[in-house]
Amino acid sequence: MTTPTIHLPFATLLLLLGLLVACFWLAVVSVRGMAAALESQPDGLLPLIGSDEPQRSLLHDWDPRFKIVSILVFAFLVVSLRQPEYVVAALMVALVTVFIGRLSWARSLRRIMAMNGFLVMFLVVMPLTAVVHPGDSLIVFDGINNWPFNLRGLMLALVIIGKAWTVALLMEPLLATAPLGATLEGLSRLGLPKRIGELLLIAHRYIHVFFGELQRMRSGMDARAFRPDHRLDTLTDFGNFVGMLLVRSFERTHRVYDAMQARGYAGEMPNHFNFKSTIADWGKLCLLMAIGISLLLADRLFGGGA
């Protein structure tokens, strides 16, 4: 088989690039409003993982153990997909899940935007660097003949982006529909060592404490007219700043540990959550598994050899 090559005038490249920049700009503008709304929330700058607000939905009522298994297995099934059309289908499933859970679209969007900078790199680099196989469609722009634009590379990049978005969308349904403690307790019932859950809970708690300290120190620096620039002095100041943060945190570490021991900590934390599985829990698990497995089967059976 020979390589089908499409020749396009150089102006098309400029047009396409302009279109890409325009799309990016449009996305940034439309997201800016949402970002501002998020930042006015108390955990706007540093998001909390779980949600302690009592809320009801199909996802909130789902036993954390079943929810974790279903969503994680589904995510791994999605990552194994290869055909673009089934990746799009998986993305739709993830969107529906967020909708059913009545979750904040702004938070989901923020998760997606966090990855996009990295993903755009794939989108730009992969079409240009993918190795040309026989049968690949190439687009050659006049003027830069030795840099063919490989459509297979573009497809590969788009499939990666689709999978990444799907998994990112599934994270809010997984995490924000229960308190973090309940999710971690569910994980430990599933076999995760109890210690790891405790460590995550402690670390999550103190990240927010230390972040408050960081902001306080930073506003102290600002009050003393600190302006970051590119001189060596700035780096010295940053070194002292981070050093002070570490000193304070290490000292707090001991106080935290003493306080835990004073409250009777002997290597294990008390348990607050009790789980009871119902038919509905099993039903939701089976539904999501069925969707995931049929997507993967369809991906492998139909859709040609990729």
Partner: protein, 178 residues
Amino acid sequence: MTRGEDLPKVAVVAAAFFVAALVHVPLGPTSVHLLLPGLVGSLLGPSAFLAIALGLVLQSLMFQFGGLTALGGNALLMGLPALACGLLFQTFKGVNAKRQMIVGGICGGLGIVGSALILAILLAASGEDFLGVAKLALAAHLPVVFIEALIAAFIIRFLFKVKKEMLSAPFTLKRKQP
């Protein structure tokens, strides 16, 4: 090794490094956030891997940076350089402030070099199509190496002045009994 009753301490210290990594340093027209793998290794010793893994899990849960499916790779590419740099720092740090500062800076820079190298290897191992991405990732880390080395050196200098025992034995610092 990390002892069982020390685990809560590792969790709190991991939180401290997590927050330290949120500090943004200006670089040209943009800014970069700190990674500090070398410093984590120097201060925590063998506990560094656990602390980094914790930080990465929380990072992917909170912000979606990294992602759960890439967790293993990320822990490897942050953790191994941290352990190596920690060993390097504890071996060559000497006793005076200047030497500790210089060795700390070198470890800070080497930590990033190690991370970038492992990232490139992992990307290149994903198939020939990813070789271009791997090279680009390696190049993007170059300016960060210098910033990180300088900041790590200044942090070590500060710690030497303020709380020397944090630099001595990796994370076994005991409070003086009154």
